[in-house]
Subunit: 280 residues, 3 copies
């Protein structure tokens, strides 16, 4: 095995607490284990029993929970010699990584990453800013994820998936990649900006979901979905356009959602169009 | 951040083991971390590497496994000042919480709570007695759960769900709440007493599942289900009443299940009707 | 409770590190906790914060990750007296058990076991050699699993399942067992050699999936599937035989997959027929 085996993760000796300090301490818990080449920004908190392997970079003002693993070695570590160098894991500033999550070495995340508990994200993941990924979600790696993407709990993202900006994916959705499993031929799915995939849907290999489209709950999608289309069923069929959908609360329009929802979005408080103009 | 940041969770200094004591020890493992204001009943065991944040109350004769987190701070903790007080988490007596589970601050559970491994239960959950929730289940919080409810592995309970008494929900079921995601309008589902939801079903927002009803495996339920009805399919349709279903073992009746099954139920060994009379 | 309660898992006192030793150490991390009667082969690595309960046997050249639990006590432990002896958990050589996994006492695994993160495997599981089981998969125990079986992420295997050799099961598949839940009558499913079950499918109780058969994504399978059949839908219906399927890459045959795929298989580099002849 390579040189970053667990033995080199000693209990952190550089942190000494007095009783008073501990009460208001924000920093590295004494039970956390930190490898070599780890660079932590200002005001970073690391929770108890967390393990950070070699060559992890974390931006300012980040909170890493308990029982987290950052920089998990990739598969090639196990056959490597002592000169093996763990791949770099880059996490932007303002991250909040909740307990039990495992982020592999060899990925990068923009500012504002937020995870639920026990998320798994493998190597080769490139995610933009303000990415939020819910409890138990499982990102298999080698995928591209845009800005302000929201994955709810327990979403499975297969290799080679491409997810645009402002995409919402709800619990138990699976993005597949192998048209005739098991094989060595993988074609990822492509989810365009502002698309929404409701719970328990499967997107079959190579399928594209168009801008502003909506996939209804429990759908199995085996062909491309056009922009602004609504598809449902197994196999999924087009039943409407998103502009046909009316609010169950007040009968008004609800899609495209960017004109009706702004929590956590960069246009919060000013509206989507005003935000676009401001950035034009 | 508030005052319960991890730094105040020192390694418990109050527990000293001799060799002999350790062999038969039931108590707090020396690697567990215990916050302020934690109240443990008599005969409570806390496993290794478990973290209990401030203001958690646990009843007598409870067993908390390894790598558990109790009293996980809610989202408002992260922006709070040092006067922040963690919400109370109340767990009744006789609890058994298995390894890797995370229970947030701000919920309450009656006696006899039993969890599988790596369960997540967020704030605002109110559950009755003898609640059992299986491995990987994810309760999003702000929901009501009655007595003797059984969630099997990997059940997802959305905000505002209302689950009656003696309800069974099987693996990979999702209880939703947002009729046009993403939106700020949430209408939870309502599951009435004795209802059964089989594996991999989705209950759409605002849907009610009637008393003694049965939802077949893999269903997507988009309208209310009447008491004693059996529904299956995507979208789910009524195909029978539960009294039509015969045992594949002996051809006899199997529903309503309360007349045919009693393991772990309060009528165990005496039958449902006798139990009702006894409590009348 | 029995005598293997957590108190007896002291911090391992037998491992002393010098600075130099730690850098290249392969062995038991000082924060790991090891019970009585544990037998480790040569060249076994045990990660930080891992808990190994009594009577776990691990073969040579195995790597146990961080935050793992091996030999988790079965339910009867909780009511037992101090004479309780934890069941044996046997793990063959060359195992790689990733972080957060929980393997109960009372199971056995052949050589070459490989798990993802946070896998749960309960008691009474008997698995052959080169079993690979992905992140979050949940094996309920009391089941038989052959050689070279591949479970991808988040597969749920119910009690009494029988899985042959060289079977592939993809994410979010559920193998059920109770024809009228909740009941005390369980009939497991039976998956024959070389069968493939694609993502998000449910196999209903007692159903057999024949040799070389393929279950398409999102299927609910309520009757037996013949060898080499392709079934899809809810409920699943036969739509083709596997020999009808052509590669989306080059139009060639892709099933039975054993003639077209060999990564990690014993016929790797020589072809399936040559391997059969060699072993004849």
């Amino acid at each position: 095995m390579g040189s970053i085996c667990w033995g080199c993760l000693g209990v952190n000796k550089h942190t000494v607490f007095g009783e008073g300090d501990m009460k208001n301490f924000e920093g590295i818990h004494p039970t956390a284990l930190i490898g070599d080449g780890v660079m932590l920004g200002r005001n970073v908190t690391v929770g108890p029993h967390t393990v950070i392997y070699d060559n992890v970079y974390i931006g300012d003002d980040s909170v890493i929970g308990a029982h987290v693993i950052l920089g998990e070695p990739c598969a090639d570590f196990y056959g490597a010699d002592a000169n093996y160098s763990n791949r770099i894991l880059e996490i932007g500033s303002g991250a909040r990584i909740r307990s039990g999550s495992v982020l592999y070495a060899g990925s990068s995340f923009g500012d504002g990453l937020e995870t639920g508990h026990r998320v798994t994200i493998r190597e080769g993941t490139r995610a933009g800013k303000n990415f939020r990924v819910g409890t138990l979600s499982d990102i298999q790696g080698h995928c591209h994820i845009g800005d302000y993407v929201r994955l709810h709990s327990n979403v499975h993202v297969g290799h080679k998936s491409r997810i645009g900006n402002f995409v919402w994916i709800f619990p138990y959705v699976v993005l597949t990649n192998d048209p005739h499993p098991p094989s060595e031929f993988q074609v990822g799915v492509n989810i365009e900006d502002f698309a929404v995939i409701a719970t328990m849907s499967v997107i079959l290999p190579g399928v594209s979901i168009g801008k502003d489209a909506l996939v209804g709950a429990g759908s199995v999608v085996n062909r491309n979905v056009e922009a602004e289309s609504v598809v449902v069923g197994n196999p999924a069929k087009k039943v409407a356009t998103v502009r046909d959908i009316k609010s169950k609360k007040d009968g008004g329009s609800v899609y495209p959602w960017r004109y009706h929802f702004d929590r956590g979005m960069p246009w919060q408080g000013i509206g989507y169009d005003a935000w676009v103009q401001k950035n034009a």
